[in-house]
């Protein structure tokens, strides 16, 4: 084979490798947290922190019923319209207010589960959120859910890596991730 042919082939291969590596998924986990149930959100945070431990980057998108989890119970904001005030009052205010998806039994089941978790040293949703923040898990909050439920950015928790976005941001992240989950 001639030297010129080899050089052309090499250049072609180089371009191919560059394109492939640009398209290949990053060592990343993208998760949608749609649920606002305590058990499901806890599971999502456990998976997120585990993934960081395994050396992955983690991105979590909180949308719909997942959004109120990120509210800060200590923060009060005014200037909401009637619907916003109603939603604000009816939806859980922060991670300590969420209920089990099953066996809630008017709050009794959730209370029992919480005390059991404490006894068995299982981290609560609030504690796991703090762990996720420490580990550098990126949280995105769905802007549309915020607007729909009348939440203001000022009433959300002070999480180190929290941004507000729409579906395109999630899809871009998910496209480049090895694992995508919907919870």
């Amino acid at each position: 084979m001639k030297k010129n042919d080899l050089e052309t082939q090499f250049a072609e291969l180089k371009t191919k490798v560059e394109t492939l590596s640009a398209e290949s998924a990053e060592n990343k986990l993208s998760m949608i947290v749609f649920s606002g149930d305590m058990d499901k959100v806890l599971a999502s945070l456990i998976i997120a922190s585990g993934a960081v431990a395994m050396g992955m980057d983690v991105v979590m998108f909180f949308t719909f019923w997942g959004t109120p989890i990120l509210r800060d119970k200590g923060k009060k904001v005014g200037g909401k319209d009637l619907m916003g005030t109603m939603f604000g009052a009816m939806l859980p205010k922060g991670a300590c207010n969420v209920k089990l998806s099953k066996m809630n039994m008017g709050g009794m089941g959730t209370a029992m589960m919480k005390s059991l978790m404490k006894k068995k040293n299982v981290a609560s949703v609030e504690e796991m959120l703090a762990v996720a923040g420490e580990l550098g898990v990126q949280i995105y909050v769905c802007e549309m859910s915020m607007d729909l439920m009348g939440f203001k950015r000022e009433e959300m928790i002070a999480y180190p890596n929290m941004d507000f976005c729409g579906v395109a941001t999630f899809l871009e992240e998910a496209k480049n991730s090895k694992i995508q989950l919907f919870i």
Partner: protein, 80 residues
């Protein structure tokens, strides 16, 4: 055999359930040099399968696993 492994850092993870043992050990291993060894003690039975899975994925090596009653002890060498 355990006398032969030189331990550089001991982590007491007893009483902590999933996911904390793996989360803590992944942080702890970054505090030792490559080639050094962590001794991690846990009481989480899930760790028996979780630690090897974590080590394989993160590129570290479990040199030895001891079990004494409820306490499981891993000797993990930092390779990555």
């Amino acid at each position: 055999m355990s006398e032969e492994i030189k331990v550089d850092k001991v982590m007491d993870l007893k009483g902590l359930p999933c996911p904390m043992p793996v989360v803590k050990v992944s942080k702890g291993i970054k505090e030792i040099e490559v080639g050094q060894v962590i001794e991690a003690q846990t009481t989480d039975p899930g760790a028996l399968t979780d630690f090897p899975a974590w080590a394989r994925t993160s590129g570290n090596e479990i040199l030895k696993t001891d079990q004494d009653g409820k306490v499981i002890t891993f000797f993990i060498k930092r390779n990555a």
